[in-house]
Amino acid sequence: MVRQVAQGDESAFLTLYDCYVGRVHALTTRILGDSMLAEEATQDTFLKLWSRANTYLAERGSLLLWLLTIARRTALDRLRLEKRRPMLSDSTDPAELWQTIPDDKSLPEEARWRSMHFAVQSLSPEHRQVIELAYYQGLSQSEIAEVLGWPLGTVKTRLRAAMEHLREKWNQE
């Protein structure tokens, strides 16, 4: 399918859009918060897919992972451009609920992502916050320390502990 997109097949491109736009838009919305900005970042992500489909290498990972990596960078670039203050809320958007019931068409990784979602939700507020700021807001450990007013060592310890917890959950699946 990606090869078809690389050859200029618009129908194949729209099929991929329909398949992955929900996940891409969820990520850009998580990063940017604003739905309008998120739609722009989502659009930019898919336009990059259209123009760079020939650079995708299947041996390096799934197409969805490649697309989400592009989406994260695109949204973080937009976030820096907007010079927005990082979102400090330790709770996720109430609308962000995993309501989709897995069916036969669900991707094999679906269950693991769902578990990871709940693993993040089960972190303590402090641990969830450092993960949120580091990964979804693109802040370094020093920047997180500055934003939260915590000592750098505390940030490092909490971030490491949070990641160890998530790694443990991931490997249990």
Binding site: A95, T100, L139
Partner: protein
């Protein structure tokens, strides 16, 4: 590499996997990863975690308009987005009415110009005839006969007033590319142009006054030839008639 250094660097792997390790710490870990197999394995493990965070968010659909905007950016839409004229019935009717009005106006304009031209011709004929009649009524005016194969008439010559007039019967109409040209003939045979004229289309005769810039008594005759429209410097076409004074 001492064990303590390894442990310190290893502690930074989770932050590195999230992209939160910066500066010197990141460079030191990258250098260490070149030689430490266990740290590379651990990094791959944490990378799997950070990658899973990308998808560990419940799917969220954007507005349907986004798909349309996306499609509009694709090459096929760019081609079809060129402006096209879509005429509604009302626009067609208005356009037709405007064209009809324009046509009627154009027709009226052409008819008006034709009437003006005819009026101008009648006025010119009247003035020419009045000039000829005035000359005829003057006692000193000479009347010289025009005797040619197809054309007859009179040359009215008034040397005192330095004027003349031609009254010609049976002149045929020329093509638009042609014109009659009057020549005054000097004693040495040299011809001086005295004007251009066309045959009257609605009268059997044509009256043409002649006003010379030179003393008309210096000339010894008058003639008419057919020349290209706009006239010639010297006679080039067939002679219609010639009258000696």
């Amino acid at each position: 590499m001492v064990r303590d250094d390894h442990s310190l660097l290893q502690e930074n792997i989770p932050a590195y996997a999230l992209g939160a390790l910066e500066g010197e710490d990141a460079r030191a870990l990258e250098a260490h990863l070149q030689t430490c197999e266990s740290c590379r394995t651990e990094l791959a493990d944490y990378r799997a975690v950070s990658d899973s965070l990308l998808a560990a968010i419940p799917p969220r659909q954007p507005s349907p308009a986004l798909r349309k905007r996306m499609q509009a950016r694709l090459p096929s839409a760019q081609k079809s987005a060129r402006p096209r004229f879509a005429w509604s019935f009302g626009q067609l009717a208005t356009g037709g009415a405007l064209l009809l009005l324009l046509g009627l106006n154009l027709l009226s304009f052409v008819q008006m110009r034709e009437l003006q031209r005819q009026q101008s011709d009648v006025l010119r004929q009247l003035q020419n005839n009045q000039a000829a009649l005035a000359m005829l009524s003057y006692p000193e005016t000479q009347a010289l006969a025009i005797e040619a194969e197809h054309v007859s008439g009179t040359v009215l010559l008034d040397t005192e007033r330095n004027s003349a007039a031609l009254v010609m019967w049976n002149l045929y109409e020329l093509t638009p590319e042609q014109s009659y040209q009057i020549w005054l003939i000097e004693p040495d045979g040299h011809r001086v142009s005295a004007g251009l004229f066309r045959a009257e289309s609605d009268l059997p005769y044509t009256t043409q006054p002649i006003f010379s810039s030179q003393d008309i008594s210096n000339f010894v005759g008058i003639g008419v030839t057919i020349e290209p429209a706009g006239g010639s410097d010297q006679p080039t076409g067939p002679r219609v008639f010639k009258v000696d004074f």
